[in-house]
């Protein structure tokens, strides 16, 4: 069992993260991953050049680890890997990688789903979309909160 939770200040390479997880997952039967991209358009339809994620020097990484550990305890998974960008992420670039491996696929699917629902609402970031119209602070939507609440 391994749980990896990293805060990435520079570019995030999903292929590299998958390779790390695959290496750890020898003996498992399934890997499920999710890659979140910085959207080029806001919910209101405005063009977004970048997403800027402010973070706390200690609490942000700790929140990633807390969520990853809770996931590992909840599901029958072997390895968890969470890597989250901070700082300025240009539109179209990866902002988060989550992955879970398990002996059978269902646990890995559930774990990846759970990780993202909690990260989207509880990870310690303060996020804004930056575009021609200036910067717009973002908070979790009702749908994000409802998704998280599915897990009790």
């Amino acid at each position: 069992m391994s749980v990896v939770a990293l805060l990435e200040h520079d570019a995030l390479d999903p292929q590299l993260e998958l390779a790390e997880l695959t290496e750890a997952a020898r003996g498992d039967g399934a890997i499920v991953t999710f890659v979140g991209l910085a959207r080029p358009e806001s919910r209101e339809g405005n063009a977004v050049d970048a997403i800027v994620l402010d973070h706390h020097p200690t609490l942000t990484r700790q929140s990633l680890e807390d969520i990853a550990v809770a996931c590992a305890e909840r599901f029958d998974v072997s390895h968890i890997r969470v890597v989250h960008r901070c700082g300025m992420v240009p539109a179209g670039e990866p902002i988060v990688f989550t992955g879970a491996s398990s002996i059978h696929r269902r646990a890995a699917f559930d774990a990846a789903d759970y990780l993202m629902d909690r990260l989207k609402t509880e990870a310690v970031f303060w996020k804004r979309e930056v575009g021609d119209d200036g910067a717009q602070w973002i908070e979790p939507t009702e749908a994000d909160l409802a998704d998280r609440d599915r897990w009790g």
């Binding site: 979140g36 994620l53 402010d54 706390h56 929140s63 303060w126 602070w137 908070e139 979790p140």
Partner: protein
């Protein structure tokens, strides 16, 4: 006393702010002092959590110069 701010608070006030507070005053008193000095951030301050040494603290917590008080607005998630 130097206070660290994040998110919308940092946007409205700045990432660091000096407050001329008495020694051993409470978090609530510092919050009120900041809200009076920066009324544009009063609503955001009201819904922010106070943090000292990576621990969330209540309004009654007494603070002195060396504690490193921070105010954290509601997080956006990742």
């Amino acid at each position: 006393m130097r206070i660290r701010l994040y998110g919308r608070l940092a946007d409205a006030i700045g990432p660091n702010v000096e407050v001329d507070a008495a020694l051993a005053c409470s978090v609530a008193e510092i919050r009120d002092l900041l809200a009076a000095s920066y009324p544009q951030a009063a609503d955001e301050l009201a819904r922010s959590r106070a943090c000292v040494g990576e621990r969330l603290v209540g309004g009654e917590q007494l603070i002195d110069e060396s504690d490193g008080l921070e105010f954290l607005p509601p997080v956006s998630g990742g």
